[in-house]
C-alpha cells in the first residue's frame, strides 16, 4: 500500500471536514462547504485524525467514480478515511469488501429485497404504519415523533424481515447507537459490536432448530447448514441489516415529516394524491433533498485517477459527498427548492456503485406508505416546538436527522 501523505504533503490550510450547517437552514448542507465545493469540486479536506482525503462533490464524478473498480471500499487500506474515531466501519462484512467477494457475500441477503418481494410486503408495512399511528393517537399529545413513530416503524419491519423478536429491539437499538456514536472510543464501539454479533449468532443457532419465514432462518438453514457461510459471517450479515435498517429510514421519517410540515404546499401533494407514481417520485425528491447519510461514502483509490483536473494518487482516501452531489445545480434546477414533482431518481442518497444501499427497495416502500398515511390520518399534525429549539444531529454523525421532534395534533 502506498502512503500518499509521504508522497504529496498536504498544505497546512486544508479546510476541516465536516462543516456545520447554517443556523436557520437545517435542511441544507454547510454553506462554507458548498462554496468550497463550487470552486474546487475535487478538494482535500482535513478529517478528525489529521489525514487529508479528497472530497468529491460533483454529481457526475460521484456517480461515475463510485462505479469505478479503481475505487475500493476496504477499510484495510492505511488511508481509509474513517468518519469517526470509533472506526465502527472497520471490516463491516461486504460493506467494506471489494468484488468479487463483496458480491458473493451480498447475495446471501439480496433475496428479500427483490422488487416483487418488497412489494409483497407492502400490505404488512401499511399495517405496521397504521398500528404505530393508532398507538400514537392513543397516547400523550404532544409527543416525540422520533420515539413514537420514526424508530418503531422501520424497527418492526426489519425485525420481522430478519426474524428477530421485536421485544429485543430496545437492546439492538441501544447497542447500535453505542457502536456508531462518533463520541464512542474504538474500544466501546467494538464491545457493542461484539454483543450484537454474539446475540445474532445465538439467533442463527436457534433458527436451525426453530426456523421461521425470515432471513436469518434462510441463512441458517440454507447456507450455514451447507457450510457455504459460517455462523459468524451470518451474524455479521444480520448486523449490517440491523444497523442499516434502523437509523437511515428512521431519520428519513422524522426529517421528511419535519420538512413537509415546513412546506405545506408540498405536504398537500403527498396527502391528496392516490397516484403511486407521484408518491414514488415525491419520496425520491425527499431522499435527494435531505440526503441523510451526511458523512458521505468513504473509499480509497487503488490506482492513480484523474478527475476534475485533479490527479488522485493510488492509496489516497476519498470521500464522496452524496449530499453535495444531490444539490448539484448542473443536474437539478434550483436544487435548494423542495419540489416533489421533479424527476429526482438519479440522486446519490443511497450511494452508488456496487455498494449502493441494499435496503433501498424496502426503504422506498416504507416511506411511500408512511408519509401519505401520516398526513391523511392526522391532518392537523404540527410541530410542538420552534424550529430553532429542535435538536438536529451534529455534523460528525453518520446519518443526519433530529434527536427529538415534538409534535401535536
Amino acid at each position: 500500500m502506498i502512503d500518499s501523505r509521504a508522497a504529496a504533503p498536504a498544505p497546512a490550510d486544508v479546510p476541516e471536514y465536516p462543516m456545520s450547517r447554517a443556523a436557520g437552514c437545517p435542511f441544507d448542507p454547510s454553506p462554507e462547504l458548498r462554496e468550497l465545493a463550487a470552486t474546487t469540486p475535487v478538494t482535500r479536506v482535513r478529517i478528525w485524525n489529521g489525514s487529508t482525503p479528497w472530497l468529491i462533490s460533483r454529481h457526475e464524478d460521484v456517480r461515475r467514480l463510485l462505479k469505478d473498480s479503481r475505487v475500493s471500499a476496504s477499510t484495510d487500506h492505511p488511508n481509509y478515511p474513517f468518519s469517526a474515531p470509533s472506526m465502527f466501519m472497520a471490516n463491516l462484512g461486504f460493506l467494506t469488501m471489494d468484488d468479487p467477494e463483496h458480491t458473493r457475500q451480498r447475495r446471501f441477503v439480496t433475496r428479500p429485497f427483490a422488487i416483487k418481494r418488497v412489494e409483497a410486503m407492502r400490505p404488512a408495512i401499511r399495517q405496521i404504519v397504521d398500528d404505530v399511528i393508532d398507538e400514537m393517537l392513543a397516547g400523550p399529545n404532544p409527543v416525540d415523533l422520533v420515539k413514537a413513530m420514526a424508530y418503531p416503524v422501520p424497527a418492526r419491519v426489519i425485525c420481522a424481515l430478519l426474524g428477530v423478536p421485536y421485544a429485543d429491539d430496545d437492546f439492538l437499538c441501544d447497542r447500535v447507537e453505542v457502536m456508531v456514536d462518533p463520541a464512542s472510543t474504538g474500544e466501546v464501539s467494538k464491545a457493542a459490536r461484539k454483543e450484537l454479533i454474539a446475540y445474532l449468532e445465538q439467533v442463527v443457532a436457534d433458527k436451525r432448530t426453530d426456523p421461521g419465514d425470515d432471513l436469518l432462518s434462510d441463512l441458517a438453514n440454507e447456507h450455514v447448514a451447507a457450510g457455504t457461510l459460517s455462523a459468524h459471517e451470518a451474524a455479521i450479515l444480520g448486523l449490517l441489516l440491523v444497523i442499516a435498517g434502523h437509523e437511515t429510514t428512521a431519520n428519513m421519517i422524522t426529517l421528511g415529516t419535519l420538512v413537509l410540515l415546513e412546506h405545506p404546499d408540498q405536504l398537500a401533494i403527498l396527502r391528496d394524491t392516490d397516484d403511486p407514481t407521484l408518491i414514488a417520485g415525491a419520496v425520491e425528491e425527499l431522499l435527494r433533498y435531505l440526503s441523510v447519510p451526511q458523512s458521505g461514502r468513504r473509499r480509497v483509490a487503488l490506482a492513480d485517477i484523474e478527475v476534475g483536473g485533479v490527479h488522485i494518487r493510488a492509496g489516497e482516501g476519498l470521500i464522496f459527498a452524496s449530499d453535495l452531489a444531490n444539490r448539484d445545480e448542473s443536474v437539478y434546477d434550483d436544487p435548494d427548492r423542495l419540489d416533489l414533482r421533479r424527476p429526482a431518481n438519479r440522486h446519490a442518497a443511497f450511494g452508488g456503485g456496487p455498494h449502493q444501499c441494499l435496503g433501498q427497495p424496502l426503504a422506498r416502500v416504507e416511506l411511500q406508505v408512511f408519509y401519505p398515511a401520516l398526513f391523511r390520518r392526522i391532518p392537523t399534525l404540527r410541530r410542538a416546538a420552534e424550529l430553532d429549539q429542535i435538536p438536529f444531529k451534529q455534523p460528525g454523525e453518520s446519518i443526519y436527522g433530529v434527536n427529538a421532534l415534538p409534535v401535536t395534533w
Binding site: 462505479k67 439480496t110 433475496r111 429485497f113 416483487k116 431518481n345 456496487p354 449502493q356 427497495p361
Partner: protein
C-alpha cells in the same frame, strides 16, 4: 435494441425492474437481474437506457440496432 445482463456483476439492486418493468426481472433465489425481453421495441428504449444509467454495477449492456433513434 438488444439487452444483455452480466449476472456476475449484478448486485440485485432491482433498479432496472423499477424503471423498465417487463424488460427486466429478478431471479427468485437471489434477486439477480434476468432479461424478460432481450429485444425490446423502440417504445421501451428510453426506459432501457435509464436502467443502464441507473445500474450501480454497470451490469447492463445495450446494443443499438437503430442508431438513428439514439439520443446524444
Amino acid at each position: 435494441m438488444r439487452v444483455t445482463i452480466d449476472q456476475d456483476m449484478c448486485i440485485a439492486s432491482g433498479l432496472c425492474v423499477i424503471v423498465a418493468e417487463g424488460i427486466f426481472g429478478q431471479r427468485d433465489e437471489d434477486g439477480v437481474a434476468v432479461p424478460l425481453d432481450p429485444n425490446p421495441s423502440d417504445e421501451h428504449a428510453d426506459a432501457v437506457r435509464e436502467a443502464v444509467e441507473l445500474c450501480p454495477a454497470r451490469a447492463i449492456a445495450v446494443a443499438e440496432s437503430d442508431v438513428a433513434g439514439e439520443r446524444a
